[in-house]
């Protein structure tokens, strides 16, 4: 294994992360708005404190965090193995020997479909990381990788 040159994910993944962050932040903002209405009666908080905090979190989740998380993802593949890098807080570098892959899924949820990306899921016989997920690949790329790996899978031992 050398450290293979890593390919970044499709830009669609970044937009998907931003959308998910915005949705989580938006939910929080709505909760803060409701809280604002009730808290006022109980304790004497300055108006807008909750809303302001929620707004900051929304900005972080939707704008600041996704690019870092997106940049942390990367993958590389050669004839014998697939390497995946991910994680901002804990950085993880995984190597999967391709001859041990049990089967491969290409999956696409509704949001992923909207951004034109899909996930490649490698199932190994291992138990700790029995699934290695590569999110955010263009459909054509995912299918090409899947077909390449399929060629490498060998008969499993009895």
């Amino acid at each position: 294994m050398e450290n293979l040159p890593l390919t970044p994910m499709d830009r669609g993944l970044l937009r998907l992360m931003q959308l998910r962050g915005a949705m989580a932040g938006g939910f929080l903002l709505a909760a803060a708005a409701v809280g604002e209405a009730f808290v006022e009666r109980l304790v004497d908080l300055p108006f807008g404190l909750l809303l302001g905090a929620a707004l900051l979190i929304l900005l972080y989740l939707a704008l600041l965090a996704p690019p870092r998380r997106y940049r942390a993802w990367g993958y590389g593949m050669d004839a014998e193995e697939l390497q995946v890098r991910r994680g901002v807080w804990v950085r993880v570098h995984t190597v999967v020997p391709l001859d041990h892959v049990q089967h491969i899924d290409v999956s696409q949820g509704p949001l992923e479909r909207a951004f034109g990306i899909c996930s490649l899921v490698l199932h190994t016989a291992g138990t700790l990381h029995s699934q290695i997920v590569l999110p955010g690949l263009a459909r054509a790329t995912a299918e090409r990788i899947r077909d390449e790996i399929r060629g490498r899978i060998r008969e499993e031992p009895a």
Binding site: M1, E80, G87, T94, P97, G126, T127, I132, E155, P157
Partner: protein
């Protein structure tokens, strides 16, 4: 269609199952009724008798409708009273036939037969119960068919009956092993039993004055050092006896033998268990020990296998209490496994101690701060903090790793010492992770995933030097592919050649 399924379970099975289930059904329900209604004891007895007849009839019907048979290419099992189910298990899917005999079954001369296919689902092919002779006949039938259909197993099956014993424990060894299984948990169990019968005891077990009184009666001095020592000694003795009893019940007559491409394990005093470990399905080996037994040269060996019947997180015990040379004898039969060669294994980075302390320091400080709110002397506990570093240093002393052409060794643990022997060909994936503190210190942890590994018992090398971790991960994958594909492209060995 009932072709092939021409045999019933042993008729005594009906009696066996009836005895097993009778206590709940025949006692609990009528007893509840006797209490709730006014029909009293005689009514409850009639009800119990009636229920007994119904239960017996149901058991008979289930037995009547359960049929199995050995066909030309498969074992067929038909079951179900209303909803009929016919299952065929092809011979080439059968790993082996396990035989288990509980105490009750042994009284009846019966055995429970489990047909292992390695699919992981339990009760796939369960024949509960047949006569012992029939169990052996089934096993031989499966062996013979497998030898016929599977050319790879054929050569080995010829030497089949001439089993070679690899490891066995005699009674003195068993008792010694039991002493190491010292356990105080069973004293709690003893209390639970006492509590159940406490109305027959002359004193209240939860009355401390009584206990002191008892001690007073038997010991002249009150709460002297001697009295306390005596109580502790009795507790320790009870713990030791409990450990020995449990170990003898579980591992009496423990025997591991080699039969063709399988290892067969037999154990148990009242319940006799037979299990089979297919050598080709062994994923890794683990040698486990403790500081005291390690001092005397004892340790245990278990295998992690793929699929088939597993106990304790995918691990199959092969030699629970053995010397180094005995373990080597067993390992020699499961190539390429062997104990690490003399050049000692390497330790992880020295900074592991720093990282470990950094991880525990904050919670420890917080706990001391919180305590000093109530206890004025709590800040004195700060003096204990260097112990954290000492513990981390001790832990590092026992956390080692090493790599050879075909095996990776990882050892870990001070009290519970574990050494993993991992054939490189069985590595499913490798993960190098760096947390925020590790990044500051230039450290990384390597997790090695194998088939059948459990979450808590998976090999992991914690806090390697960053570069060393990268090199190690690279070497593992490189040597792995040399094993797999050979140094030059073209010669691709099969898994069987590598492992078997």
């Amino acid at each position: 269609m009932t072709e092939g399924a021409d045999r019933h379970l042993h008729p005594a099975t009906i009696a066996l199952r009836f005895i097993k289930e009778a206590p709940q059904t025949l006692v609990a329900l009528p007893a509840a009724l006797a209490f709730s209604s006014r029909s009293g004891l005689s009514g409850a007895l009639y009800l119990a008798a009636g229920l007994g007849v119904v239960l017996l009839a149901v058991k008979w019907l289930v037995w009547r409708r359960f049929r199995y048979g050995v066909g030309a290419a498969e074992i067929v099992i038909e079951s179900g009273v209303l909803h009929r189910n016919r299952r065929s298990i092809p011979f080439d899917r059968i790993q082996d036939v396990d035989i288990e005999r509980t105490f009750l079954a042994r009284l009846f001369g019966l055995a429970k037969v489990r047909i292992e296919t390695g699919a992981g689902g339990k009760d796939e092919g369960l024949l509960d119960s047949v006569s012992l002779a029939e169990a052996h006949r089934l096993r031989e039938a499966v062996r013979a068919r497998r030898a016929g259909t599977d050319p790879a197993a054929g050569a080995q099956a010829v030497e089949g009956p001439a089993a070679q014993i690899l490891f066995a424990m005699d009674p003195p060894r068993l008792i010694l092993f039991g002493l190491f299984n010292f356990s105080l948990v069973y004293i709690a169990g003893l209390f639970a039993i006492l509590q159940t019968f406490d109305r027959f005891l002359p004193f209240d077990i939860y009355d401390p004055a009584r206990w002191v009184g008892l001690v007073d009666e038997y010991l002249p001095a009150r709460w002297t050092f001697g009295a306390i020592a005596a109580v502790l000694f009795v507790a320790a003795a009870l713990g030791a006896i409990a450990g020995v009893l449990r170990t003898v019940a579980r591992d009496y007559g423990f025997r591991l033998s080699l039969e063709g491409d399988r290892l067969r394990r037999e154990q148990g005093l009242l319940t006799r268990k037979e299990a089979v470990i297919s050598r080709r399905r062994v994923q890794l080996a683990q040698v486990s020990g403790g500081p005291v037994r390690g001092l005397f040269g004892w340790s245990g060996l278990s295998f992690q296998t793929l699929g088939a019947g597993t106990d304790r997180g995918g691990h199959q015990s092969a030699a629970p209490f053995a010397t180094r040379s005995e373990i080597e004898t067993v390992l020699a039969q499961v190539s390429p496994l062997r104990l690490p060669p003399p050049p000692e294994l390497m330790r992880v980075s020295r900074r592991h101690i720093l990282r470990s302390v950094a991880g525990t320091l904050v919670p420890a400080l917080a706990a001391i701060l919180a305590l000093s709110y109530w206890l004025p002397f709590a800040p004195a506990l700060l003096a204990l903090l260097p112990l954290l570093a000492a513990a981390a240093a001790l832990e590092r002393r026992f956390h080692r790793y090493g790599l050879t052409e075909d095996l990776l060794f990882v050892s870990r643990g001070v009290w519970r010492r574990r050494l993993w022997l991992i054939p490189l060909g069985n590595v499913q994936s490798l993960s190098l992770s760096r947390g925020p503190i590790q990044r500051r210190l230039g450290l990384a942890s390597l997790a090695i995933d194998t088939a059948g590994a459990s979450m808590i018992n998976a090999p992991r090398i914690v806090d390697l030097r960053g570069e060393a971790a990268e090199v190690l991960m690279g070497e593992i994958t490189a040597r792995r592919s040399v094993l797999r594909y050979g140094p030059s492209p073209g010669s691709v060995p099969t898994q069987d050649e590598l492992v078997g």
